[in-house]
Amino acid sequence: MTQGYFELFGLDSKFSIDLTTLESNFRKIQSESHPDRFVTANDAEKLKSMQLATLANEAYQTLKKPALRAEYLLKLQGIEAISETNTAMPMDFLMQQMEWREAIDDAKNANDIASLDALLAEMQQEGKVLNTALALFIDDHQDYEAATEATRKLIFIDKVSIDINKVIEQIEN
C-alpha cells in the first residue's frame, strides 16, 4: 500500500489539516518534481520526476477532499471504510437517503432546479456536520468505529451531490 501522503506534505496524520499548508506544499513539490522541469533530462530522471509528480497529485487529491482523507486515514489503521463485507448503515440514515432520492426524482420530473439547488445546499450542510464529527472521532478520540460510519455517510452524501448535479445538467440541456 502507498503510504506517506501526510509526510509528503509535511503534515501530521490528522483529519483536521491546514488546507493552505497542503496547497502551498503541493505546489512546492510540483515546482521541484514536475516533468516540465525535466524536459531535457535523461530517461532515469524523467521517470523519477513522473513518479514523484504523479504521487504528489494523487496524495494532494486524496487529502484535499474530506471523504477521501477520512477513508485514507482509516486505511492507515487497516480499516476499509467501503468494502463488500462492510456495508452496514444505520436505519435512520438509510431512510434519510431514500427521502433524498425521492426528492431528487420529484424535482427531476418537475424540472425544478431551485429545489435541486436547495438539496445541494442541504448536502453541503450535512457534509460540514460530518466533517466536525470526523475531526472529533479520529483526532481526539481515536474512535475508528464511529469514524468509519461517518466516513461512509460522507461518501454517500458526495454521491448524492454528484447525482443532483447530473440531474441539473440534464434539465439545463
Binding site: 505546489r27 516533468p35 516540465d36 532515469a44 513518479q51 514523484l52
Partner: protein, 630 residues
C-alpha cells in the same frame, strides 16, 4: 543537463547560449509561431509581415505543396486539392465528420498490419498528390512555420511547444504530436490552448485568483478554469466541444443563403465560394449593422442578399447558447459559482463577434477581458512555456498544472465503461484497476480502452483494443488482472496490463491509425533529412562538442557542491568519465562524443537521484523522501 536541473530546477549552472524554442498555435483557421526574445514573447511574421498563416494546404499540379495565403486563394478554384480546417479531421473517423459540408473526397483508412490492432481509423482525403492523412496535411503547415522560425531566428530549433484544444481527446493529441514529428519538430510539450492563453494573459497582468478562459476558435470550443497564484497556473476544470467553432457560424450563414435564394445543393466550387462569402459577411458584421452578400455561381445564377446583425444573431443564437453548457459543467466540476470568478479572458478569433461577448458578459455578470489579441494570445503563451522548458528562463517561477479533459476507462461486462481516470485529474496521473476472469480456465482477456463521460462503451470514443494472453488457467474470478493507465504531462495515455499471480504482461501506447505504418513515417522522415547531409554532420559535431562541454561543466559544478552525497569510489568513477569525455570531445566523431556523454550520464545517475532527493528534502526540511514508497 540533468544534473544542472537538479541543482536549480529549470536553470543551468553553467553559462550557455540561448536555445531557440518556439510556441506554435496550430489552429483550425490560422496558425502562428511565436518566440521569446530579450524576455518578451512575440509572434514571428513572414517576409510580407503577415503574422497569421492561414491553415490551408494546396497540392499543386506540379507536385509541389503550397501553404498559407496563396493556398487560400486557390480554395474556390481548386477545392478538391485545397484543404482547409484540417484540424477538424485530426484523430477523427469518417463517422465523426459531416461529409456533406466539405468538398473533399474522403476515404476510409485501409487496414494495414501496423494499424489493425487500433480501434480508431482516421479519415483520409484523396488529392491529386495521392491519399493524404490529416496528420500529413497538418505537418505541411508545421513545416512552413518551422522554416519561418528558423529563418527569422537564424538557427535550428531545439524544440517547440504545440498547442491543442483542451478538449482534444487522446487520438487527437497523438495525431498532433505525430504531425510535428513528421515536420521534423521536437515537441517539448503539447499545451492546452486556454492554458497557453492564461500564461500570456496572467504574466502580462500579474494576475492572481480564479480566471475563466473562454476560447472559441475556428473549429473548437474550450472552457478552462484556472487558479493563478505566484506563477503556478493550476487548471481546476476544463470542458468544451471539439466540434464547435467559428466555422459553424459560417455554415449557418451558408445555409441561410441557400434557403433565402432557394438554391439547390451546390457543387464543390459553389459550396466553397458561398462559404467564403458567408465568412466575409460574419467578419463584416462585427463592426457593421448589415452585410451584403453577392456572387456569381457556376451555373450563371446570381446571389444578392443583405444580412442584418439581428438576423445573424437569430441564426446563430443556439450556437452561442451551446457554449454555455460546457461552461456550466466546468464551473460545477471546479466547485465554483460565477461570483467567485475574478475575470474572464476571451481567446480565439470567433470571440470578436459582439453576440458572443454580450452573452458571456451577461452570464458571468462582468465584462470579459479582451486586451490581448485573441488570435495571438495562445501562440504567445506557448512561446513563454517553450522558453521555460528549453531551459532559457533562469528563474523557473512558471509552472503549469493541467488536467485531463475526458475520463478514461475500460469496457467491462455488458458493454459498460468503467472509469479508471476521471476527467479533470491533474497531470501526470497513473491509476490501476483490478479485473478478473469470468470463465473457468480463461487464458486471455481482451482489453478495450475508451475515453468519454457516458456509461455505455458505444457512446464513448474507442481508443485501443489489445489482448492480454498467457493467463494461467484458473477458476473464474481467481485471476487478478491489474490494468494501469498512465497519462503524461502531454495528456497522452499509455496502458499496461498484468496478471499479478503469474506476472504475464502487455503494454500499449495508445495510437490512432492514419493508414501510415510506423515504418512509413520513419522513411518519410528519413527522406526529408537526407538533403544537406554534409552540413548536418558538421553541425552535429559542433552540437555534440557543445553538449559535452556543458555536461562536463555541470558535473564538475555538481561535484563541487554535493560530492558529500556519494562515496569516494563513485566520485572517482565519475571523474574518470569526465577525463575520458574531455579527450574524446576533441576528436571528429560526433557519435563517439555522444556515447561518452551517455557514459558520463550513466555514471552520474545515482548521484543525480541523490541530488534530486536532497533538493526536495531541503524544500521540506526534516522530511525524508526515501520513506515514501513510489
Amino acid at each position: 543537463m540533468a544534473l544542472l536541473q537538479i541543482s536549480e530546477p529549470g536553470m543551468s549552472a553553467a553559462p550557455h547560449q540561448h536555445k531557440l524554442a518556439v510556441g506554435i498555435d496550430l489552429g483550425t483557421t490560422n496558425s502562428l509561431v511565436a518566440t521569446v526574445r530579450s524576455g518578451l514573447s512575440s509572434v514571428l511574421s513572414d517576409e510580407h509581415g503577415h503574422a497569421l498563416l492561414p491553415s490551408v494546404v494546396h497540392y499543386l499540379k506540379d507536385g509541389s505543396v503550397d501553404v498559407g495565403f496563396s493556398a487560400q486563394k486557390q480554395q474556390n478554384l481548386d477545392p478538391h486539392n485545397t484543404i482547409l480546417s484540417v484540424k477538424r479531421f485530426m484523430g477523427r473517423g469518417l463517422k465523426d465528420i459531416d461529409v456533406s459540408m466539405s468538398p473533399y473526397h474522403f476515404v476510409e483508412t485501409t487496414s494495414t498490419e501496423a494499424n489493425k490492432s487500433t480501434a480508431n481509423q482516421m479519415v483520409q482525403i484523396e488529392t491529386r498528390a495521392g491519399i493524404k492523412s490529416p496528420v500529413e496535411i497538418s505537418s505541411e503547415i508545421l513545416k512552413t512555420l518551422k522554416i519561418r522560425a528558423e529563418k527569422s531566428l537564424g538557427g535550428e530549433l531545439v524544440g517547440a511547444v504545440i498547442t491543442v484544444p483542451a478538449y482534444f481527446d487522446d487520438a487527437q493529441r497523438q495525431a498532433t504530436k505525430d504531425a510535428a514529428r513528421l515536420a521534423g519538430i521536437n515537441v517539448l510539450r503539447l499545451l492546452n490552448e486556454p492554458t497557453a492563453a492564461a500564461v500570456a494573459y496572467g504574466l502580462d497582468n500579474a494576475s492572481e485568483g480564479v480566471y475563466v478562459i473562454y476560447d472559441l476558435g475556428g473549429g473548437t470550443f474550450d472552457i478552462s478554469i484556472l487558479k493563478l497564484s505566484k506563477g503556478v497556473f493550476e487548471v481546476l476544470a476544463t470542458n468544451g466541444d471539439s466540434a464547435l467553432g467559428g466555422d459553424d457560424f459560417d455554415q449557418r450563414i451558408f445555409c441561410w443563403i441557400l434557403e433565402s435564394s432557394k438554391l439547390s445543393p451546390r457543387n464543390a466550387y459553389d459550396t466553397r465560394l458561398l462559404l467564403s462569402k458567408a465568412r466575409e459577411a460574419k467578419e463584416w458584421l462585427t463592426e457593421h449593422a448589415e452585410a451584403n452578400i453577392s456572387c456569381l455561381l457556376s451555373d450563371g445564377e446570381f446571389v444578392n442578399l443583405t444580412l442584418s446583425t439581428d438576423q445573424f444573431i437569430t441564426l446563430t443564437a443556439n450556437l452561442v447558447q451551446k457554449t454555455l453548457s460546457p461552461t456550466r459543467k466546468a464551473l460545477r466540476d471546479a466547485g465554483l459559482t460565477i461570483e467567485e470568478i475574478n475575470g474572464i479572458v476571451m481567446v480565439g478569433g470567433a470571440t470578436r463577434m459582439p453576440q458572443i461577448r454580450k452573452t458571456v458578459a451577461e452570464y458571468f455578470k462582468q465584462t470579459p477581458l479582451t486586451n490581448l489579441d485573441p488570435d495571438k494570445v495562445v501562440a504567445l503563451g506557448a512561446a513563454i512555456q517553450a522558453n521555460v522548458l528549453a531551459g532559457n528562463k533562469s528563474d523557473a517561477d512558471l509552472l503549469l498544472l493541467d488536467v485531463i479533459p475526458l475520463s478514461l476507462g475500460l469496457e467491462t461486462f455488458g458493454g459498460l465503461a468503467e472509469k479508471v481516470i476521471h476527467r479533470n485529474s491533474t497531470l501526470p496521473v497513473a491509476r490501476a484497476q483490478e479485473f478478473t476472469t469470468y470463465k473457468d480456465g480463461q487464458t486471455a482477456m481482451s482489453i478495450h480502452v475508451v475515453q468519454g463521460e457516458r456509461e455505455l462503451v458505444s457512446d464513448c470514443r474507442s481508443l485501443a483494443r489489445f489482448e492480454l494472453r498467457g493467463i494461467p488457467p484458473m477458476v473464474a474470478g481467481a485471476a487478478r488482472i491489474r490494468v494501469t493507465f498512465t497519462v503524461d504531462a502531454d495528456g497522452l495515455l499509455s496502458v499496461s496490463a498484468r496478471e499479478t499471480s503469474s506476472n504475464v504482461e502487455a503494454n500499449i501506447t495508445v495510437k490512432p491509425s492514419y493508414g501510415l505504418s510506423e515504418d512509413e513515417i520513419t522513411s518519410m522522415l528519413k527522406a526529408s533529412f537526407n538533403s544537406a547531409e554534409a552540413d548536418k554532420k558538421a553541425r552535429m559535431l559542433a552540437e555534440a562538442r557543445v553538449d559535452a562541454g556543458a555536461i562536463i561543466e555541470a558535473v564538475r559544478a555538481a561535484l563541487a557542491a554535493d560530492s558529500a552525497l556519494i562515496s569516494e569510489q563513485e566520485k572517482l568513477a565519475i571523474e574518470a568519465e569526465i577525463q575520458r569525455l574531455s579527450a574524446i570531445k576533441e576528436t571528429q566523431d560526433a557519435d563517439e562524443i555522444h556515447q561518452a556523454v551517455e557514459a558520463l550520464n550513466q555514471a552520474t545517475e545515482a548521484f543525480a537521484a541523490a541530488r534530486m532527493d536532497a533538493s526536495i528534502s531541503r524544500a521540506f526540511a526534516g522530511k525524508d523522501l526515501d520513506s515514501i514508497n513510489l
